[in-house]
């Protein structure tokens, strides 16, 4: 038994209204003021604010309710229970692996805690190119301030782990500025296990903050329950049909609706990919063919280095140092910029990420304690040749993202592999392996530079992953440009709002959680005001 108090189990004992799975059967019909689809970043913030405004709220989550007592820092437990598709979600052509949460708290339960406000360059693009006049720094600042206070977001002042310190040292050697990342943690144990669910409840995810607050205010949480489709009529969502699902997302009773939720208002916050999919299944009006389009991933490429000293990339806070040098030194709508960070390293991720097989693969794995990895997040959505992907439905109604990796994107990936290798050699790496099927460990920057310049930058040869899914229900100043208005309200469906990362009309250009918190905070305060006439504030 864990020595840590489990706020979820305590809440259940206090009588929280949780149904679905082991928590009890769903009634055939549920009536409420607002039904929220999802329980991640946008859903959690919205649920807390709407319950504070006195509204009767129902939260619908496809994944299970797991909490600190269930989090044992094991990939073998975390991936199947907390992630979409057992953490093996892929784009349609299988060229990009996507890590996305599927549990109460959504991706905030399993993310690596990196917290950035939406970059000013991104906001300027939204204002100037897309007409989103209210999305400027000053207008958003109070909403970010509130979210940062609520979620204890502050720069990580503890010494970075060696994996991150190497980024700092390498960048410094090259005269590149690198800074400390802010994290949403309170009393963090510096374990490095954030991706498997925080066992100490230090991470201020939605699981331990806003969702408990909403439940304490009387909200109802449905788990292992998938929002299947809206019943649309007369320009309004009349109801939401939901199915009960098994741990692997298969319906418990195929073809059967487990519950129908009738609400005055609906908020879609199931995350990019899944939110547009609900609207696609609902055959929602889409007069300008924008639904599910422009879905962004911040495609990620990686570079693995071997150091003389032990790195132990599994230990200590992940992603505590970053550099935006390669974003800030070029125009946002030019060749792709990228952000560099140093991720946590664990056995399954290591074995699946390192290319090849047999003795060469074994040799790389044997150097795990000395391995340092950098990743580059490519900023997609700002150039016509980086238009993102399209969410589609498979024949069984499940969602899949078609994301073509264009030559333009892959040219950015090549520059990113070069930049990472140069930093790694500057930080003292003995060898560097750009993660690509055609590469080998190189022992000097000169050798790496010429090898990377010659690599065929093709999908399925270059390892590309993502943990940031954005867009697909873009907000826009005019009906012809977006799925929802600047206030989150759907252009064609009067009582439906979208409050998650699928709102973003481009990628964010930074780890998106705080962008979602801040923007959902503003949208949910507006929605509470419209529905109740009451002003509420997060915090």
């Amino acid at each position: 038994m864990s020595q840590f108090p489990d706020p979820i189990r305590a809440g259940l004992q206090r009588g929280w209204k949780v149904l679905g799975g082991v928590h009890g059967a769903l009634p055939a019909k549920i009536t409420c003021d607002v039904a929220i689809v999802g329980s991640g970043a946008g859903a959690g913030i919205t649920a807390e604010l709407l319950t504070q405004a006195g509204l009767a709220v129902v939260i619908v989550e496809e994944g299970p309710l797991k909490s600190s007592s269930d989090f044992h820092q094991h990939e073998s437990e975390a991936y199947p229970s907390l992630y979409q598709e057992s953490a093996s979600r892929k784009t349609e052509d299988k060229a990009i692996s996507i890590l996305q949460g599927r549990c109460v708290g959504g991706s905030t339960t399993v993310n690596w805690t990196s917290s950035f406000r939406t970059p000013e360059s991104t906001l300027r693009f939204w204002q100037e190119r897309l007409g989103l006049k209210d999305y400027h720094r000053e207008a958003l600042a109070p909403y970010f301030d509130q979210a940062e206070r609520r979620l204890h977001i502050a720069p990580w002042l503890t010494e970075p782990n060696e994996n991150n310190a190497l980024l700092h040292r390498g960048a410094q050697k090259l005269g590149i500025s690198a800074s400390v990342i802010a994290r949403n943690v309170k009393g963090c144990w510096n374990l490095g296990s954030c991706g498997m669910g925080c066992p100490t409840n230090a991470k201020q995810s939605m699981l331990v903050t806003t969702i408990p607050a909403a439940l304490d205010h009387g909200a109802t949480l449905l788990v292992e329950t998938r929002a299947e489709q809206f019943v649309l009529d007369g320009g309004k969502a009349q109801a939401l049909r939901c199915v009960a699902v098994r741990p692997n997302s298969a319906p418990v009773a195929p073809g059967q609706i487990a519950t129908t939720i009738v609400a005055k208002h609906f908020v879609l916050a199931g995350g990019a990919i899944n939110s547009p999919a609900v609207l696609l299944r609902s055959k929602a009006p889409d007069p300008h063919a924008l639904l599910g389009a422009r879905t962004f991933l911040h495609p990620v490429v990686m570079s693995a280095a071997v150091l003389e000293q032990r790195v132990e990339g599994w230990a200590g806070a992940p992603q505590s140092i970053y550099t935006d040098h390669f974003m800030d030194t070029q125009p946002i709508d030019g060749p792709m910029g990228f952000k560099l960070e140093a991720p946590p390293l664990h056995p399954v991720i290591m074995a699946t990420t390192m290319p090849g097989y047999g003795q060469p693969h074994a040799d790389m794995l044997a150097k795990f304690p000395h391995t340092h990895v950098l990743l580059a997040l490519l900023r997609d959505g700002f150039h016509p040749q980086a238009p993102g992907g399209q969410v589609k439905l498979r024949s069984d109604g499940s969602a899949v993202l078609d994301y073509p990796l264009t030559d333009f994107v892959m040219e950015g990936a090549r520059r990113a592999l070069l930049a990472m290798a140069e930093i790694q050699f500057a930080s003292g790496a003995r060898e560097v392996l750009p993660v690509h099927e055609r590469s080998h460990p190189y022992t000097s920057w000169d050798a790496a530079r010429s090898a990377i310049a010659a690599l065929p930058m093709k999908p399925l040869l270059t390892k590309v992953v993502s943990a940031h899914v954005m867009g697909g229900c873009a907000m826009a100043a005019t009906e012809a440009q977006g799925v929802v208005r600047a206030d989150g309200g759907h252009w064609q469906i009067e009582n439906l709002s979208v409050h998650d990362g699928s709102l973003f009309p481009t990628s964010v250009g930074a780890n998106p959680q705080l962008s979602i918190y801040g923007i959902a905070n503003r949208l949910a305060q507006g929605l509470a005001q419209r529905l109740t006439g009451r002003a509420v504030v997060l915090g």
């Binding site: 044992h72 991936y79 199947p80 992630y83 093996s88 692997n248 699946t352 097989y357 047999g358 040869l461």
Partner: protein
Amino acid sequence: MQRRSLLKLGLVSGAVLALAGGAAVLLRPGLEQGRLSASARGLFASLGRAILQGTLPVDAQARSRALAGMVERIDVLTANLPPAVQAELSQLLGLLCTTPGRLGLAGLAPAWADASEAQVQAALEGMRFSSLALRQQAYQALHEIVGGAYMSDESSWAALGYPGPLPL
């Protein structure tokens, strides 16, 4: 069009493998009720020997035990995948377990159980660098499933020098 692949055969590529309960979904032939068929178990044992050569224990008995454990974990993984992904994986495994599929997709002449590590590695190399997206996808899926399943259990961590999580 290459990237759409020639057959409509998608593949799971489990960054992950794991242990959780699962649903029973009727699928043939690679998966039966969401679990590995007998021939798919043999396929993964053969792939494990080739992909993990150098990482597996040297002692023959220990190696057999390690591979058997990996196959068990793959079986648990498949049960936990969503139905659409199970269906794709089932097609791939089913195809690879037929003689024409093994020849056409993997380019391997002997049966999986009879092939040497070097023969399986040569087949993997052909898929990895194939000009057909489908064969590349198959390689990526098998590589990730095998590597992920093997390293998901603490019995394999010594090969990585990974001490396991800090006890709390």
